[in-house]
Symmetry: C2
């Protein structure tokens, strides 16, 4: 399956599309391949693109006042990544986005995205469902972070996202779980 076709497949899971609409979509997404360790977005910049990952791995993080990185998203194949706040408002981002592997991405600029949603309003439904699910997930993660122990969150992650452990260094996973790499080591030892 070609890459834009993969994207159409996911769109059509949640909304109907005519052939004309599919053609519009194919024309506005640009396919790129990005090398590992590439900074796609740097804090202070406006987030120019929304990315669909057909293959690869990226992380979103921010850097606090002490200069420490804090990862809040790790995304792999067939997922979207961006800083939605900056992308849709076109204001400077607080976050960074970086490739953790060589990655195949489909990208769209803010201008083209807004235009696309007007030309193919049925995509609003797809993104409504996408953001709705993302929101529900974020709330579940928030509750886990507030009220479960680091041990439980680690176990949950092994259950739900075992692939990540195969592809991402533990330092990043520790940060994603909200703990230090040292604490993650301690947790892993005690099992």
């Amino acid at each position: 399956m070609s890459e834009p076709n993969k994207l159409l497949y996911y769109f059509k899971k949640w909304t109907d599309l005519t052939e004309a609409e599919e053609a519009i979509i194919m024309s506005v997404f640009e396919s790129v391949v990005i090398k590992k360790k590439n900074e796609m977005l740097v804090a202070g910049q406006v987030c120019s693109h929304l990315y669909f990952i057909t293959k690869g791995c990226l992380r979103s993080y921010y850097i606090d006042t002490k200069g420490t990185e804090h990862i809040y998203q790790i995304r792999m194949d067939n997922n979207w990544i961006s800083d939605l706040e900056s992308f849709f408002s076109q204001k400077p981002s607080k976050y960074h986005i970086e490739t953790l592997e060589d990655s195949h991405l489909l990208c769209i600029t803010h201008e083209r995205m807004e235009q696309l949603l007007v030309e193919v309003p049925r995509l609003e439904r797809y993104f409504r469902i996408l953001f709705q699910k993302a929101y529900v997930n974020a709330l579940n993660r928030l509750n886990a972070t507030m009220w479960k122990t680091a041990i439980d969150r680690y176990n949950d992650m092994i259950q739900e996202h075992p692939e990540v452990f195969q592809r991402v260094p533990l330092v990043y996973i520790a940060s994603y779980l909200g703990i230090t790499p040292e604490s993650l080591s301690r947790i892993r030892r005690q099992k």
Copy 2:
């Protein structure tokens, strides 16, 4: 402004609506007044309605294995509340929803909501933007919970939602901030 009109006002901030569409919306939302301390949703039940709060205050929370309540949402005037996961999947909820004040709500059932989104597809845009913003907020809150101190989260909340402190007991605010009431007391003393 009548209550359903208030809702139309918010819809029209983010999407266009014809008079016919407005009429459909007016007909599917039911207006109710609920007394304080009413359990709108209990864990194990399917979340039957999506609520728009025209006036009042509600909280969402869950009860852990030890029987302790953990609040993750406090919502007031002109906001939506529901358990979206249960509402859209029509599977049993993990959460509770309760009124903290006598509240005026506009409610819609799952069946009517799905129908409404088909009959007035332009509402998909409204909810896409609503969930997108809610998702961005949830991620910001997640980052604050993971990486800021309780003191900073307390100060942020006073800055951003001072109204809540006028209307909601501190026990609930403490839980929302992810700390115990005792810790919140400690923080308030040290200022």
